[in-house]
C-alpha cells in the first residue's frame, strides 16, 4: 500500500465503501476450511466374495460457511466402495454428516487383506485478494482394510426386544432389534406368543420372517399384533428369535390393553422445511418434522396449503407414516410452482383424529433457468453490517465537522 493511497481521499464516501468491501474480503480470506473424519480407520472383516458389508464414517467441519463435501475411495478397494449419500452433500459447523460406506467385493476376488482409503474433501472457499494465488481446499483420509473370505458366516445377535401398551382394538407393537454379525443376508424368524398375565395358556401366536438384514447392518423390526379378540387387561408377550434352528433370544414382556382414550396421543409438528429458493417448474420437497411425544404409536399425515399473494393456489399431502413413541419422522409432500413469486406453505399433521398446530415456511420462486442464491453467509453479513455501521458513524462525524466549519 503506497503512501499516496493512505492520504485523505477526494471522495470519502467512495473510500469508505472500498474499505468496507476490503474488510469483507479480508474476513473471507482469513476463514479456514476445516474438515475431519471419524473414525480415522475402518475395518471390514470376513467380507464374503460377491457379498456386502457396511460401515459409517462421520465427517464434520468447523466452518460457519456452507461447504460442499465430496467422498471418494482410493487404493485396492476403490472400485468396491460406494457412499450413501454420494452426491450433493453440503455441510457446515454443527452439521456432522454420517456417511454410509458400502463395500461389495467382486465374486472373483481372491481371499486376503486389501487396503485403501476414503477421502473426504471440501469444496474451494472464496478467493480473496488479488494477483497470483490459490484457493485452499482441505481433505481428511480414513484408512480402510477389507478382509475377503470365501467362507459363509451366518451369525446374528439380538440387541433389544420391547413392547408398548395399547388400547382396545388397536394393535400392540413389538419391536426387535437384530444385528447381522455374519457375512450373508439373514431373515430371522420372530415368534410372539401372547398370554393372559400369570397364566401359561397361549391366546395368540404371531410369526414374522419377512424382514431381511444385510451383513453388518442392524435392523429394528416392528411387529404389529392384532388385539381385536383380546379384552382389556394385562398380558404377557413371549418373544423368541430364531436364526434357522438356533434360538438367538427369548424374552417375556408385560403389556396392557387399556380402554380407548386411556393412552395419551400427542404428536408435535416441530417444523416445516423446504429449500427457500426454486425455479418455476422445479419440484419442491416440503418436509414436516413430526414427533410422537405420546404414549402410543400414531399414524401421521402432512396436509399442506400453499398460498400466493394471500390466495390458496394448491394443496398437497404426504403419505401416511407410522411414528413410534418418542421418535421423529419426516413426512414429505411435494409442490411444483408454475409462476414466479413468493409462496407461503402452511402445514399441519393429522394423526389419530387430531391435528397439530400449523407451521409455515416460504418458497421463493424465480423464473426458470436462473441460478439460485446459496445459503446466507452470516460472517460476511456480520462484517458487512459492521462496516456499514462504521461508515454511518464516520459519515456522521464528517458531516458534523463540516457543519462546525
Amino acid at each position: 500500500m503506497t503512501g499516496d493511497f493512505m492520504k485523505t481521499p477526494a471522495n470519502p464516501i467512495l473510500f469508505l465503501l472500498l474499505l468496507a468491501v476490503s474488510c469483507s474480503l479480508a474476513a473471507d480470506s482469513a476463514r479456514a476450511a476445516s474438515i475431519g473424519v471419524s473414525p480415522a480407520s475402518i475395518q471390514f472383516d470376513n467380507v464374503l466374495k460377491g457379498g456386502y458389508a457396511e460401515g459409517t464414517v462421520s465427517v464434520s467441519t468447523s466452518s460457519a460457511t456452507l461447504l460442499n463435501l465430496t467422498m471418494r475411495a482410493e487404493g485396492a478397494v476403490k472400485d468396491w466402495i460406494t457412499f450413501e449419500p454420494s452426491e450433493n452433500i453440503t455441510f457446515s459447523s454443527g452439521d456432522m454428516k454420517r456417511i454410509s460406506v458400502m463395500v461389495r467385493p467382486p465374486s472373483d476376488a481372491a481371499n486376503g487383506l486389501y487396503t485403501g482409503s476414503i477421502i473426504a474433501t471440501t469444496s474451494a472457499a472464496k478467493t480473496g485478494g488479488s494477483g497470483v494465488g490459490a484457493e485452499v481446499t482441505t481433505g481428511a483420509v480414513c484408512d480402510v482394510t477389507v478382509r475377503v473370505t470365501g467362507d459363509e458366516i451366518k451369525k446374528a445377535s439380538v440387541i433389544l426386544i420391547d413392547v408398548e401398551d395399547t388400547e382396545e382394538e388397536l394393535p400392540v407393537e413389538f419391536s426387535v432389534s437384530i444385528s447381522n454379525d455374519g457375512n450373508v443376508m439373514i431373515a430371522p424368524l420372530i415368534k410372539i406368543e401372547i398370554m393372559k398375565k400369570g397364566t401359561s395358556e397361549v391366546l395368540k401366536t404371531i410369526t414374522h420372517s419377512t424382514t431381511t438384514i444385510l451383513p453388518t447392518k442392524m435392523s429394528i423390526i416392528r411387529i404389529m399384533a392384532d388385539t381385536k379378540d383380546l379384552p382389556i387387561g394385562e398380558y404377557t408377550g413371549r418373544v423368541t428369535v430364531f436364526l434357522d434352528s438356533e434360538k438367538l433370544a427369548e424374552k417375556e414382556l408385560s403389556f396392557n390393553i387399556f380402554e380407548r382414550g386411556t393412552l395419551r396421543k400427542n404428536g408435535v409438528l416441530q417444523k416445516i422445511w423446504n429449500e427457500p429458493w426454486a425455479n418455476v417448474g422445479d419440484i419442491v420437497k416440503i418436509d414436516a418434522y413430526f414427533e410422537n411425544q405420546g404414549e402410543m404409536m400414531i399414524i401421521g399425515k402432512l396436509k399442506g396449503e400453499i398460498y400466493n399473494a394471500n390466495r390458496l393456489v394448491n394443496v398437497t399431502e404426504s403419505d401416511e407414516l407410522e411414528v413410534p413413541v418418542g421418535k421423529v419422522v419426516v413426512l414429505s409432500a411435494y409442490f411444483k410452482p408454475e409462476f414466479p413469486g413468493q409462496y407461503l406453505v402452511r402445514g399441519q399433521v393429522v394423526y389419530g383424529g387430531k391435528t397439530t398446530e400449523t407451521k409455515e415456511s416460504y418458497i421463493n420462486v424465480n423464473p426458470g433457468g436462473e441460478a439460485l442464491p446459496r445459503g446466507l453467509d452470516y460472517t460476511t453479513l456480520a462484517v458487512a453490517a459492521a462496516a456499514l455501521l462504521i461508515i454511518a458513524l464516520l459519515l456522521f462525524r464528517f458531516r458534523s465537522k463540516r457543519t462546525r466549519r
Binding site: D28, S29, A30, R31, A32, A33, S34, I35, G36, V37, S38, P39, A40, S41, S58, S60, T61, S62, S93, G94, M96, R98, I119, T121, A124, A125, K126, T127, G128, G129, S130, G131, V132, G133, A134, E135, V136, T137, T138, G139, A140, V141, C142, D143
Partner: protein, 281 residues
C-alpha cells in the same frame, strides 16, 4: 443339636451371608438410591475443532419416592490413561455436577440424563461413565458403564487462501507465503498436498503450471531451487507430524513460493491447493 454343631453350621452361614451382602451391596446402605441401566453414547465421533455432547443416562430408584433424590452427578474418564479421581482435563476427564432428572417412570424411579461437552482433542480410547445419586438423607449410590469408545478423529484446518501477490514475469517469490495448519482432531497428522495449474480464462499464451508452486512444510525461507518440493496434481505425502492438541491449539506453518514463467500475460491467475490430513507415520 449340640452347641458346637450349631456354631459349626450357623457361623459359616453367617459369614457367607455377610460376604455376599458385602459383594452385592444388598444390605450395605439401606434406604440408598439404586442407580441402574447406565447407558452412554457409544461410539463417540468427535467434531472437527468443536465439541460434541456425550450422553450418559440411567434410572435411579429411591425407596422414599423419586422426589427424595437430591442430586445426581456423573464422571466420564479415559479409563486407559486416567482414573475416576483425576482432575477434569479436556483430554481425559469430564464431570457433570448436576445431571438432569427427566420425567419419573414410576413413584420411585426416575430417568436421569447426564451430558458432557467433549472437546475434539479428547483421547481416542476406552472411556468409563459413572453416575452417582444422592438422596435427601445423604445416602449415595453409583453405577457405571465402561464400554464407551471415543473414536479417532483425523482433522485439519487450513487458511483459505495462498496469495502470492502481484509478481512480474520470470520472477520467483522473494519470501515465503505461509499457510498455517491447525490439528482439529485427536491424533497426530501428516499431510498429503496436491494442486492444480493456476489459470485465467482470458489467458491466451500460457498458464502457470502447478509444479511452479513449491513448498516446504518444515523450514521457512528455504531456497526455491534446492530445498523446496514442487506441488503436483496427485497427492504427495509430506512429513508434517502435527501433534494433537493437549493444552493450547496445535498449529504448524507451511511455507510456499512460486516462480512466474517468462512468457505470461498481465492477468490474475488462480487455482486450487488441497491439504489432506493423513496418518502420522
Amino acid at each position: 443339636m449340640g452347641l458346637a454343631l450349631k456354631l459349626l453350621v450357623v457361623l459359616p452361614a453367617c459369614i457367607l451371608i455377610a460376604f455376599l451382602a458385602a459383594r452385592t451391596g444388598v444390605f450395605a446402605n439401606p434406604g440408598a438410591p439404586i442407580v441402574a441401566d447406565v447407558v452412554a453414547t457409544d461410539p463417540v465421533d468427535l467434531s472437527t475443532c468443536s465439541t460434541v455432547l456425550v450422553w450418559c443416562n440411567a434410572t435411579v430408584t429411591d425407596d422414599d419416592t423419586w422426589e427424595d433424590i437430591d442430586n445426581v452427578n456423573a464422571t466420564l474418564w479415559d479409563s486407559l490413561n486416567s482414573v475416576e479421581e483425576t482432575s477434569d482435563d479436556n483430554n481425559l476427564h469430564y464431570t457433570n455436577y448436576s445431571c438432569a432428572l427427566e420425567t419419573n417412570i414410576s413413584l420411585y424411579t426416575v430417568t436421569v440424563n447426564c451430558s458432557f461437552t467433549v472437546e475434539y482433542y479428547a483421547n481416542p480410547s476406552n472411556w468409563t461413565c459413572k453416575i452417582y445419586a444422592n438422596d435427601s438423607t445423604a445416602n449415595s449410590a453409583s453405577n457405571s458403564t465402561d464400554n464407551i469408545t471415543i473414536n479417532t478423529l483425523r482433522a485439519l484446518d487450513a487458511e483459505a487462501n495462498i496469495n502470492f501477490g502481484a509478481l512480474a514475469p520470470g520472477v520467483t517469490s522473494a519470501s515465503d507465503v505461509n499457510n498455517t495448519v491447525t490439528n482439529c482432531g485427536n491424533v497426530a497428522l501428516d499431510l498429503n498436498l496436491n494442486g492444480t495449474n493456476l489459470t485465467n480464462v482470458s489467458a491466451s499464451v500460457a498458464n502457470i503450471t502447478v509444479s511452479n508452486i513449491k513448498y516446504n512444510v518444515t523450514y521457512p525461507d528455504s531456497d526455491y531451487t534446492v530445498n523446496m518440493t514442487s506441488l503436483s496434481p496427485s497427492p504427495t505425502y509430506a512429513d508434517f507430524s502435527l501433534a494433537k492438541r493437549t493444552t493450547t491449539v496445535s498449529t504448524g506453518k507451511t511455507y510456499w513460493k512460486i516462480n512466474i514463467p517468462e512468457t505470461i500475460e498481465n492477468l490474475i491467475y488462480s487455482g486450487t491447493i488441497t491439504f489432506t490430513a493423513v496418518e502420522d507415520t
